[in-house]
Amino acid sequence: MRRVTVLLCTCGSTLLEKIDFNKVSKELYKNPLVKKIEIVDGLCKANTVKSLSLDANERIIAAACSSRLLEAVLKNLSNAKVIEFVNIREQCAWVCDDKEDASSKTIRLLNGSINRAVRSNPPQYSDGLKIVREAMVIGGGIAGVRCALDIANAGYRVYLIEKEPSIGGIMAQLDKTFPTLDCSICIEGPLLSEAGRNKNITIIPNSEVVGVKGRVGDFRVLVKVNPTYVDPEKCNGCGECANVCPVYQPNKYDVDLKPVKAIYCPFAQAVPLKYVINKEYCIECGLCMSVCTRAAINLEDKPKMLELNVGAIVVAVGSDLFDPRLKPEYHYGEYDNVITNMEFERIICASGPTGGVLLRKDGKPAKRVAFIQCVGSRESGPGIGECSYYCCAASMKEARLILEHDKDAKVFIFYNELRAFGKGWEDLLYRRCLEDGIVFIRSRPSEIKRSPNGNLIVVYEDTLTGKRSELEVDMVVLALGFKPSENLAKLAATLGVSVDDQGFIEEAHSKAKPLETRVRGIYVAGTCHGPRDIVESAVEGSAAAALVISLFRSGNVKLPETAVVLESKCTGCGRCMPVCQYDAIVRDGEKVRVLESLCNGCGACISSCPQEAIVLGDWGIEQLALQISGMLGD
């Protein structure tokens, strides 16, 4: 018969006056499962534990303080595989007034644990699992690029998956950044080319993740590379092809404002600097092929599938902007001079469609410009309910840019609450805007009307004065909120990560694990898990890289104790599946299986299984029942 050794800790002299250790010991010796009892003055002391000379096969009951304090210490000090912790300090001695009560409670708690310990099995941690020390970053915006660079600079290979022909993301499209009004591409461009040059980074443009298998340390990711009809190995970016191409198409990079040829490179700083063909517009005339000296063009190009084996994945796919057509009162797409803030960025940018002059569609300069904030954020309508974080600062920056280009311009900002909370935002943005005479009006305009001369009339109620007014301007800029990108839900489902009620990726815990997802080994960075600005996206890129690097350096993967389905008992009824909050149970033929990368070891499944076919360490019905009968016995 298995028997246990009980270690009673007096915690120095702390517990001596609260618990009658002699009585406890006398009572416990009546239990035939007890081999010996040792009363010690501190299980947290190395010398004390050493002098006990415990055997590895011994089953030990440690009756002492909270296991939160003692567990790690005692497991380091002794090599015993089975240790049951009984908290006789915080949960017994310290909450009882009476020594007799505390002593009899100690006896009951211990008898329960003794019963349990004889049936316990040494915990089975799946450790020593292999780690593939290569990472994948999905999305090449500022968060993804920063992340890829940091992982690569630590010496690990990174696959950077980008759906567009070039990395860069939204930041590459911006004219200036707030609050300093620095040139955006001048900051990001060098990072992009550094990523392009880095030997540890493999940029895979025009690609998307379509399947993921495996677990932390060993994912197998299926990547679909869409055809570009130009062999990137051969193309040297000379641009001869675009010179002869007879077809124009709107360029996504310039928000469709500045046309490019059907064979094109999205922007001058693109990485990789390779030309691609937009097959929707290509007429297959073959002129490009005739001038390409490197024979790089292949109009028969087909999608390719790659299977990559990586140890960690960082999701940094970013977000889309709200579609202003969903707010018909602002007549975007209908009135020429109602534009989005992204269109504004391209127009005010020196490399944009107007060479940096703020012109309206009719060619007249815009002298009076109004910004409308919170279009698609902080509302119960079609947008997201939350604040989009970046837009107050972005509009103040854009307002200052207008005045930098044209001192006589007049700028109005219709705001709801002006949020200038970031570093330097108060001073460099808000105060300077006030000094420059930018007018802030607290209102969410109800409508934009058009006057016969093409000007726009903003109808609003000033919520500070309660006065209704109209304001005539040349141009209205809509500050668009973020929204989860179109394919995010699909990607999340592919990866097995969850999304929140707004549709952004959900973190494992918003504070304790802000960049981890519910799938171990898959991390997030940037706006794909909620609105944020460039600074925070870059910070998160680096932070996610640190998590990946620490995983790679850790040597091996240790998963928590996870549930296991006993195949011989499982009837495949599937009752455990809806109970699992982590979606960790999947069908496997006629039975079910636990995905250990998703399981958190809560045990909701084992108590839902009518066959008792799922086990989780020592948390079966049998052990709990034994513990309870031990506690309640007389």
């Binding site: 001695a93 009882c96 909701a604 084992i606 709990l624 309870i628």
Partner: protein, 141 residues
């Protein structure tokens, strides 16, 4: 004469167990007849274990769990809540008062809440009197 004292089993999840510890740290007192069983998560507690505890002589069973947080989808304690509510109704059909099975939301810093609630539950259980589930079941035809 030794007055009868109810025996109460409290299943405490990892997180709320810290809250129970907190009660001790902060010097709160509660009756000694509350016996705690630490489990990884309240959802691991099979309703049959609760019945088992009542059968073995417990006069009431308590589950302390994390309060499901709004907006956070993952909350196994929602499962516990559903099970407990069903179990209470079932027990009522065999004459066991609903108050003998309870769920308490205790977060890891709510030692005082635990001490107060548990003292109240002990008092209420005292008023209900002994359960003696095994005896009752044997009496039944």
């Amino acid at each position: 004469m030794v007055a009868w004292k109810p025996k109460i089993i409290a299943f405490t999840c990892w997180c709320s167990s810290s809250g129970v510890d907190q009660a001790g740290f902060e010097g709160f007192k509660y009756p000694a007849n509350v016996l705690t069983v630490r489990v990884p998560c309240s959802a691991i507690v099979n309703p049959s274990i609760v019945v088992k505890a009542l059968e073995e002589g417990a006069d009431a069973v308590l589950l302390t769990a994390c309060k499901p947080v709004e907006l956070r989808k993952i909350a196994p304690s929602r499962i516990t809540e559903a099970r407990v509510s069903l179990l209470r109704r079932l027990l009522k059909t065999v004459g066991v008062e609903e108050e003998r099975v309870r769920i308490l939301w205790i977060s890891s810093n709510e030692g005082g809440v635990f001490a107060n609630e548990v003292s109240r539950i002990v008092e209420e259980t005292e008023r209900l009197g002994p359960l003696n589930l095994r005896g009752r079941m044997l009496e039944q035809p």
